[in-house]
């Protein structure tokens, strides 16, 4: 290419023009970006801001929506009943939340946003163990207290986090009531453990399996499946061939339903079925109808359970917060459904946090942490006491069973309304 000196100047001029243009673009983008992503101005005095994500869409949408309504209900109760008192001053609770879409990839960005841009002072964990595990590191990283209401996997509290506290019975305790009942009433039954492969279901089922072996029960089948499985007939067939009388396990809502439907599809009625999570949802009965009758499940809480100031007094501890009936009434302001245990555990998280703040008489993380470690009280949800790692040790797990269209608490005897009806299908 032959270049005349005239063209050389033109090219040089054009090059400089382009460089300048790009620099201006970068500068503009930076300035705009800076102002668009700056944290908002500090919040209204006299409020305490709690932040969290919750699953309103995706696989956990049913449980997540229940939890959110529980949080809304208790927040209104707290604000209606004097709010939070710190050093004589009155504070209301407000909260900021985002839909995490049941995806763990959204947890870190959303919680980072809640902390650095929305300026929340306390955190609630998301629903489910994997999402809670993803959120937990941020509690220590930014030194903010996080209460877990929907993440029960024991592994969460084995990582050494200082600021994460659980109100619910950990996963390892979920299926123990079923094993306890079987070992007393039908120790000859052969057990099949069929459960989802997520940390919660695995922890719960494996703990139950080991507990069953300790109690000298017979286990004939033990198999996990992926959480997204759509066809469990091969596993159910195999358990049947192995001579199982009872099926224990499941996972979350969808696979719980799947197991019952496919048991019917292959024409097998085991004598005893106890599944995680799914059984307590009203939708379980409304979609399965008769097939759901006499299925057992585990529950952190039912509205018919006996927790009250009187019971607390007999145990020598304080009772804090609304009565069960009050909670149910407030819950009905936000949902046409009855509250489930997801609603109650989420509400309990807020309640325990508020109590700890009042005991600490401060919003300071260290003070509140100390309070959470030393508290031993009862709420409408049950007892609260944690060990030094923050894992819940005093809350009791309940076994429930669908009987003629209503959910009954059947175990442990001290809190139960009625007895287990056996076998399934009778």
């Amino acid at each position: 290419m032959i270049k005349h000196s005239l063209n050389k100047k033109a090219i040089a001029a054009r090059t400089i023009a382009i460089i300048v243009a790009v620099i201006i673009v970068i500068a503009v983008v930076s300035i705009v970006g800076y102002y668009l992503t700056r944290p908002p101005s500090p919040q209204v005095a006299g409020t305490i801001k709690i932040g969290f994500t919750i699953s309103l869409t995706g696989t956990f949408s049913v449980e997540g929506t229940s939890s959110l309504n529980g949080i809304k209900a208790i927040t209104k109760w707290i604000n209606d009943n004097g709010g939070v008192i710190i050093q004589g001053k009155h504070y209301n609770i407000t909260f900021v939340y985002y839909d995490d879409q049941s995806q763990s990839s959204n947890i870190v960005p959303l919680y980072t946003r809640l902390i650095t841009q929305d300026g929340v002072e306390f955190l609630l964990a998301p629903y489910s163990s994997p999402l809670t595990s993803a959120a937990a590191p941020l509690a220590d990283q930014y030194n903010i207290i996080m209460i877990s209401h929907g993440g029960a996997a024991d592994s969460i509290w084995k990582q050494g986090y200082k600021n994460v506290f659980g109100v619910l019975t950990p996963a390892s305790g979920y299926l123990k009531p079923a094993i306890d009942w079987l070992s007393v009433n039908h120790p000859e039954d052969k057990l099949a453990f069929i459960y989802a492969g997520d940390s919660f279901s695995v922890t719960a089922s494996k703990a139950a399996l080991n507990y069953a072996l300790q109690k000298h029960l017979t286990v004939v089948y033990n198999q996990t499946y992926p959480t997204s499985a759509t066809d469990l007939t091969p596993l159910l067939q195999a358990a049947k061939s192995a001579g199982a009388d009872a099926i224990i396990g499941g996972g979350h809502f969808n696979d719980g339903q799947l197991i019952i439907k496919q048991l019917d599809q292959i024409g097998w009625k085991p004598k005893f079925i106890c599944l995680l999570v799914a059984v307590t949802e009203p939708a379980f009965y409304s979609s399965l109808g008769n097939l759901a009758n006499l299925v057992c499940g585990s529950s952190q809480w039912e509205s018919s359970v006996k927790y009250s100031p009187a019971v607390a007094q007999s145990l020598g501890i304080e009772y804090f917060g609304p009565s069960i009936q009050d909670f149910v009434n407030y819950y009905k302001m936000f949902s046409t459904n009855e509250p489930t245990y997801h609603s109650a555990e989420a509400a309990a998280a807020v309640l325990i946090l508020v109590k700890a703040i009042e005991v600490a008489n401060s919003l300071n993380t260290t003070a509140v942490r100390q309070a959470l470690l030393s508290l031993h009280i009862m709420t409408f949800f049950g007892e609260y006491k944690v060990d030094s790692t923050g894992i819940q040790i005093a809350h009791s797990m309940l076994m429930i069973q669908w009987q003629n269209g209503s959910l009954k608490v059947v175990y442990p005897p001290s809190f139960a309304e009625t007895n287990v009806i056996y076998p399934y299908g009778s």
């Binding site: 869409t57 995706g58 696989t59 949408s61 049913v62 879409q101 049941s102 492969g197 198999q223 996990t224 499946y225 992926p226 997204s228 499985a229 759509t230 066809d231 469990l232 007939t233 091969p234 596993l235 067939q237 195999a238 061939s241 969808n254 696979d255 339903q257 799947l258 439907k261 496919q262 019917d264 599809q265 292959i266 024409g267 979609s287």
Partner: protein, 294 residues
């Protein structure tokens, strides 16, 4: 050793399931074999078929087999839209597909796949749903076969047969087969290439959607926006296994895949069974790029 009863019943279930896989793959095969485009969004059309069967059942109490017929009509319509929106621009006036064109349609249909599944998530929520179509079952000896699954399998076989008759005995069918071999030749027999391609595509999509309806019998709680990612790879493997463009190959391939997936779960966990089913694609491709069933 292995419980022979269990093995036998799994083989039977696998064959029943495999019939539906065959129809699924047939839809893909038709499009791939005729207009030489791989529809990555194939799984999402299966998902749409399943959801439409679900809603037809929910609101109008229509059973999956009738829904399948209705889905054929939806599918024809959707298929035309699909063709003219995505494919037509690439194929118009071209005799062969270059790598660049192929890549464009691959990426575009990949985008479509995630677009449709996310749209479904927004519209239908992530809850898995299912159809309660319990019409009882029969005992064949010691085997317990749900009638729903049986009817659906029989329907699938009929559909495959009809497609075969259509392709070999009707004018349109022959034109389609001519197009798949040589686009110019189609014009020689007096058919408009664009029209042929559009019709072939819409039939392919129709078959895909109706297979989604039939599938619902096997997945009582499995209808969710992301189910496509499970069935699309199975379809790809079947088409490659049976030979691109060979309709009977899809039938045999479908049956084989159904049996493999069900029986493998006796020995290995369900996840590994699916993994192996997907990975079979690679050895098959290595052995012969045109499939292994002649």
């Amino acid at each position: 050793m292995v419980d022979t009863l269990l093995l036998f019943s799994d083989i039977v279930y696998g064959l029943l399931l495999g019939c539906i896989f065959s129809v699924m793959a047939l839809g893909l095969n038709l499009i791939w074999g005729v207009i030489k485009i791989v529809n990555i969004a194939h799984g999402e059309f299966i998902m749409l078929g399943a959801y439409s069967a679900y809603f037809l059942n929910l609101f109008f109490n229509i059973n999956p087999i009738i829904s399948a017929l209705l889905n054929t009509i939806f599918g024809l319509g959707l298929g035309l839209i699909f063709y003219f929106a995505l494919i037509h621009k690439e194929l118009r006036n071209k005799e062969t597909i270059t790598l660049q064109d192929e890549m464009v349609t691959l990426v575009a249909t990949f985008g479509l796949s995630l677009f449709l599944s996310t749209l479904a998530l927004l519209l239908f929520s992530g809850n898995s749903v299912g159809i309660n179509w319990s019409i009882g079952s029969i005992y064949v000896g010691f085997l317990y076969i749900p009638l729903g699954a049986l009817y659906v399998a029989i329907t699938s076989l009929f559909i495959i047969y009809f497609v075969h008759i259509f392709l070999t005995k009707t004018y349109l069918g022959n034109a389609i087969r001519a197009y798949s071999q040589d686009i110019i030749a189609t014009q020689l027999i007096g058919a408009n290439p664009t029209k042929i391609a559009a019709i072939a595509t819409s039939i392919g999509i129709a078959l895909t959607m109706l297979s989604g309806s039939l599938l619902t019998v096997w997945i009582p709680v499995g209808i969710n926006p992301y189910m496509g990612s499970l069935y699309a790879p199975i379809s790809f493997v079947i088409v490659v296994m049976g030979g691109k463009g060979k309709m009977w190959g899809s039938l045999v391939g479908g049956l084989i895949m159904g049996v493999i997936i069900d029986t493998a779960q006796i020995f290995i966990p369900p996840t590994l069974a699916y993994a192996i089913a997907f990975l079979i694609l690679i050895p098959i491709l290595l052995i012969s790029k045109e499939g292994i069933l002649k």
